[in-house]
Subunit: 338 residues, 2 copies
């Protein structure tokens, strides 16, 4: 591992994606990239008796699928790195209980997936671990109840709102070569532009995405066009428009080299306001759709910039603004026999 | 860094405590080790207008004190690793906003301090960072409001309860030699013995402490007597009694080689039920009192085993049991000119 600049780790030892698993809910299953998900549920309960158990079921499915594809038993996984949006990250904790793998709990809201992948990659690169499992989840109904109002309340939401993805994504990272090599990770700083509206996370998070993208490019001495695509986690339609403007102000016309998971996961026609959000959003879109595009050779170099809003309902009640963060991981396609 | 066994990292590169900072509230300030804390407040508001801001103040004080003692500016710190008990770990997030240091958010309840210190040490050992700041906090009133009832409610609590410490502890880890060298870290697994009583965390957490201690000793091929003391974070009187029994069942009579931060931080006479708990407990006792004992030469080799209960109020309402975890870090005193 070699440090690049102030915030980037360059993994010079072999760090590869061994396998992934994704499980989603009904709205995602009707979206434009649903074929890329391993498991799709047609209702929010996923066969469980409450939504928190449903979210845990999705995480279990995602993890189980990744283990199966990697042909690994839990005993062969060195560490489990996970976090989610629920208070005290209980989805992750309670699944860690079942896995019996040494566990590192993480939280950076919707940036958690890339925080976990960054640390998992570091553990493998440095020899601290051979195989590491990183995962995250979110669920529309558990998130609504906790952060805003229970969905039965039927409250109205403005168009700037985003729609929390019901989905869990898991990835196993190891040194055995595969099509997808993990090259660098850039750890973000918290940015707060004074935005207080919890119904417009996109605007709050765009500056953090910009900061991490520019830092990554600076640290690696690259132009944005080095990447076939730079993908943010869940800025969605409002936030991604703002990010484009912020980059323009820095002389960067990112054009078609940019996309956002919150926009990719839903059709425009679905009643999802500005698009998808939630910790599971970047995970399922990256580990499902985007990795498949890489394996097919349509994407060769990709930077995934997961964006998180680090607020809580109590902070909003206390009239605080919304601090945000973005963590990035870069991937490159390599030819592979396996 | 060398892996030992399945769960332990042995830091063969230099990893030392550069400086610490501790800030506590009024109950801790009247306790038997209050002289060891850097800053003591005589009321729970710490000069702020609400308890959440008070907790953030304590964290700011602890971090500021550590930076001052290390003679470092925030720009010279590579990463900030932190977590706390509040939903979405907002104390840590909002202070990260102020520090402008790349930030990794963590959560393992009251085990967060050692999770952070373990990762910070790994970052320094592997060369991913030069200087890393790890911190955590808790506050009696913010925790009561969130996990149980607001303290104004005046609810009764059973004697098995523990009393959440109002305190924040920060440590800067780097490679420059000091009196306190960080030798190993053992990452725990989640253990759940089916306990459902949130008013008796000690009993729930003792098995996790036992598992991590035995794993650490096994991984390092050591006897418990290698350490002058093995210290748990917050099992307090009930949980520590159970731990002693669990170790006895494994043939270990740990005797005076064991202590607990939740017992050390308060006098028996203080109205604190079974003793102290909270994420800040292990941090302030370790970074305050225990490190001072090491510098004085009264402790040469110490294993700190931070214990966390990974529940949430919602999980208890849904009749779940309490999964727990324990993360351990070992310290050894070295002679030092500086």
């Amino acid at each position: 591992m070699e440090r690049r600049g102030k915030q980037t780790w360059h993994f010079d030892n072999p760090v590869y994606v061994q396998a992934t698993g994704t499980a989603v809910g009904p709205v995602e299953a009707k979206g434009p990239i649903s074929d890329s998900f391993d498991i799709c549920y047609d209702d929010l309960y996923a066969g469980e008796k409450n939504w928190e158990l449903a979210e845990r079921r999705l995480l279990k499915d995602a993890v189980g699928t990744a283990l199966k594809k990697a042909e690994k038993k839990t005993k062969e996984i060195d560490y489990f790195l996970a976090g989610d949006l629920l208070n005290q990250i209980v989805t992750s904790n309670y699944h860690a209980r079942e896995l019996e793998i040494p566990y590192l709990g993480l939280f950076s809201a919707c940036a958690t997936a890339m925080e976990g992948l960054a640390l998992a990659s570091l553990l493998v690169d440095t020899g601290a671990a051979n195989d590491v499992l990183a995962a995250t989840s979110s669920h529309h109904s558990t998130a609504e109840r906790q952060f805003r109002y229970p969905t039965e309340f039927g409250g109205q939401r403005p168009e700037t709102s985003t729609y929390t993805v019901t989905g869990a994504g898991a990835v196993i990272v190891g040194s055995k070569p595969s099509f997808i090599r993990i090259k660098e990770a850039t750890i973000g700083k918290v940015m707060d532009m004074g935005i207080k509206n919890p119904f417009d996370m996109g605007s709050a998070m765009a500056p953090a995405a910009k900061d991490t993208i520019l830092t990554h490019l600076d640290d690696t001495n690259r132009d944005f066009s080095y990447y076939d695509v730079i993908v943010t986690g869940d800025l969605s339609r409002v936030g991604s428009g703002i990010l484009r403007k912020l980059l323009q102000e820095k002389g960067i016309e990112i054009g078609h080299h940019y996309d956002d998971c919150g926009i990719m996961i839903y059709q425009q026609e679905q009643a999802v306001f500005a698009g998808g959000s939630g910790a599971g959003c970047v995970a399922v879109v990256t580990y499902g759709h985007l990795f498949k595009e890489m394996i097919r050779g349509r994407i060769n170099k990709m930077l995934v910039v997961a964006t998180g809003a680090l607020l809580s309902p109590l902070m909003i009640q206390q009239k605080e603004s919304i601090p945000c963060i973005a963590h990035a991981v870069s991937f490159e396609r390599e030819d592979c026999d396996g």
